[in-house]
């Protein structure tokens, strides 16, 4: 499980450049995408109100707007995987932004919103996974690597210092 998470994160890092390219393409396509326009009347209305809020980036309440931005930045868009739902233009991201906004307006806490998302999409939706037992290796890996590397450097340095310098000319 942990190994899966690790390798997915590594893959995510490698894919980053590609994702940026796709994102640009998605943004370019969004204006003309027929599927977006073709949705039913109800979802078209919803999309219109979405666009209004998304375009202005404003909820009426400043504090709620700040939380909205924070939360949507920390949720992964599962269609394009390396983008947050704040940045993505795909319909699922718009639907999820609508969900976050509605929950904020209903007075839900940040934790409640993250729990709602992880209950449905798994821990993978969170760009910032909470520190708990099963994510310990992810959070600890950099420190473990640092320790291992440090130990190697230390050993090598000590061995070298004990060795005679054979490349110096004998006096």
């Amino acid at each position: 499980m942990v190994l899966t998470l690790l390798s997915v994160r590594a893959a995510a890092a490698l894919d980053d450049a590609a994702a940026t390219a796709t994102a640009t393409a998605a943004t370019a396509a969004a204006g003309t995408a027929p599927s977006a326009a073709a949705s039913g009347a109800a979802s078209a209305a919803a999309a219109a109100s979405d666009a209004a809020v998304d375009a202005n980036g404003q909820l009426e309440d400043r504090a709620l707007q700040a939380r909205f931005e924070q939360i949507t930045k920390q949720l992964r868009c599962l269609v394009c995987q390396n983008e947050s739902i704040a940045d993505s233009n795909v319909e699922l991201a718009a639907d999820l932004r609508r969900q976050v906004r509605e929950m904020l307006l209903a007075g839900k806490s940040d934790d409640a919103i993250f729990d709602f998302m992880t209950d449905r999409y798994g821990e993978f939706v969170r760009f910032n996974p909470p520190l708990e037992r099963k994510t310990l290796l992810i959070w600890g890996a950099p420190f473990i690597m640092l320790l291992l590397g440090g130990a190697v450097v230390y050993r090598v340095a000590r061995q070298r210092s004990r060795m005679p310098l054979d490349d110096e000319p004998a006096v």
Binding site: S43, Q81, Q99, T118, D119, R120, Y121, G122, E123
Partner: protein
């Protein structure tokens, strides 16, 4: 001794890691569903074929059923469609369709032109049902047991081979375990 063994062990560890991480057969976009082992989210939505009627998965409670999420915009769904038709012909379990991010008229045309493998087809007009099921693409196929629990999720087109290998054993097990 250590001098040779340590790098060798590190090498083996890397080989194992890469064999797993770079395996082309592993789809990194297929994510494990947190819904497995949990109650299937209920929905009551308009029927794609007749919007005056509604489709609810509550009607299938007590039996093993399949929920197939699809859309006319989805290439994989077109690929999957004839396979689903063949699978439906075998009458193993009811297949419920959920039309996702789509136009109802187009979905109806699709079923009229290509055939209808579904016992019932629900129209998710605002994506909320899909969010509840953790759907992030199409086709996605869920298997629900007699207790109304999601027991399996398959992402990407189902084929007869996948059906035989992944679904049939689970359906048989669910029926043995269930009432």
């Amino acid at each position: 001794m250590w001098k040779f063994l340590l790098p060798f062990a590190a090498f083996i560890a890397l080989v194992v890691l890469f064999a797993f991480g770079l395996n082309p057969a592993r789809d990194i976009h297929a994510l494990p569903s947190p819904l497995i082992g949990k109650a299937a989210p209920e929905f009551t939505l308009a029927d794609v074929l007749d919007p005056s009627r509604s489709v609810s998965n509550a009607a299938f409670k007590g039996q093993v059923y399949v929920l197939n999420v699809w859309g006319t915009w989805c290439g994989g769904c077109r690929e999957e469609h004839p396979e689903l038709l063949a699978i439906a012909q075998q009458h193993v379990v009811p297949i419920v369709g959920l039309v996702y991010l789509d136009d109802r008229v187009k979905a109806k045309q699709w079923l009229e032109q290509l055939g209808n493998p579904y016992e019932a087809v629900a129209f998710d007009n605002d994506g909320r049902t899909a969010i509840n099921w953790g759907v992030y693409g199409a086709p996605e196929t869920f298997l629900v047991d007699t207790h109304g629990q999601v027991i399996y999720k398959f992402i990407s087109p189902v084929t007869q081979e996948i059906w035989n290998r992944e679904f049939l054993p689970r359906i048989a097990a669910a029926r043995r375990g269930g009432a």
